[in-house]
Symmetry: D2
Subunit: 156 residues, 4 copies
């Protein structure tokens, strides 16, 4: 991953970068598919189960939830991201999946997949529950499938 | 906005927070609709025009692009967000709209709307262009409409 | 401030930037000295008093503490900074002063001054209390005086 | 490290946290002393040499500079930190040392040591060069010695 990122950065500096490349998307897919340990940044059993069931279709990993209350991330500017970083800082894993508010209160939710250095691999967004009024487990399922789909991993 | 955020934060601390509230979503809508000056974090005329045309349907604002090369944000962990912060730090405005890569190279793109303190009001995501292979102006249009829709602002 | 930052950014892009300029330091001083409202990101009366007494020697501002528990920032990667952002997001002010842990547990403390957009104007650091074993009010006093001194504001 | 952080976070949640603990500071020392590979986030030979010479007194590590232009970090809100993250994202290492501007133009400089997940282990600050007018290598030397000293590592 470091080499691929370095190459992309150097392209940006030289002003010859033309957008994502297939090998970059492949590398992200590979990182997720080859993960041996996945940390889910929630301490809610139901949400955890939804995420675990889907991820087990993608990779052969140990999947773990955390035992710290993540609601504190709601006092940050990007709760979804900071939940993920909280998991990253307190657990060893290959990838980290978190879900929470996107930004300010009212801004809807974000599901986000980080690698072991805290880099964002993919994500997905949902409208505010005020807008969609859908069951939360169903919504999380959709979000995770969408996050995987946008980097080319399809779930049946 | 500060009072609404404070209230939400206090609910989180007290562990009584139940997700976004209608008044919070309304407040975000209002901030966008009442914006007098919008800064678009791009120096690309075409991309700017797409965003400007849509925003003029939502609000009666002066809309401006920036004159700094934003490609440097591509060397950060969240290029879309850091383009927005670059605009925030160099221009006075009520809201800031930026668009760029979500995370690592290959992670697709994000469009993001910030307020004048750099708080995230809404956003939307697209797959990697490797995946969608769509015209970029069309894609940006979709992204902006989607970002507005998820907080309850519809564009015809 | 926006214009000064823009100029500095353009110098960096052109590769002609040679470090801080006197007018930039003067601008920071001015922002602090002319502040009309200062928010201190603490809900501890004693710490607040130390900071207030010093700031009143520098500027003629209303100085306010916040009424949200800031300990939650301790679950972030930069507690001192995130306390400041928490204050920024919940209160209107011209400048924000916060103090907390620098980074990981054990990394000592940081005092930080932000402007109304959340930009860092100055800061100072202390060793871990395990290392210095000094009274906390005395330490905060030193930190604030040091933070001001490094941008050219002297307190007698 | 993850376990120590988790314990500290849980103490914060329970509201029983009393500041840094000796074992936490020891852990940070150990991480630095046992580093096998150190990445210095600069492409300037002179600055690199200053840092390398000091670090070789502390640990028995391979020490490497990066070959990407880091000036782009100057367009972010915390140039010193983002230089470090740029190194983290493009090189494998145990710890990362970076140095750059603290915040806005005029805010002086910061030297910062990150671990392999991008967590801040220690740091130090210098006034704006406009204020101190000192030779830069001398200044970097002071900063690194200070950063190590504040977590209990002394250099003779």
């Amino acid at each position: 991953m470091e080499d691929i990122i370095k190459e992309a950065y150097i392209e940006s500096i030289k002003n010859i970068r033309k957008g994502d490349k297939e090998e970059e998307v492949k590398k992200i897919q590979e990182k997720i598919k080859k993960a041996k340990k996945i940390i889910v940044a929630t301490n809610n059993e139901k949400k955890f189960k939804v995420i675990k069931d889907i991820m087990l279709k993608v990779c052969n990993a140990q999947i773990k939830m955390i035992n710290i209350d993540t609601k504190f991330a709601d006092l940050t500017r990007m709760p979804a991201l900071y939940k993920g970083l909280l998991a990253l800082d307190t657990e060893k894993g290959d990838i980290y999946i978190s879900r929470g508010r996107l930004g300010v209160p009212g801004s809807g939710s974000m599901l986000i997949i980080l690698d072991k250095k805290g880099r964002i691999l993919t994500a997905s967004l949902s409208p505010s529950s005020v807008i969609h009024r859908e069951n939360i487990e169903k919504r999380i399922k959709k979000e995770l499938i969408e996050a995987l789909k946008r980097i080319g991993i399809s779930i049946n």
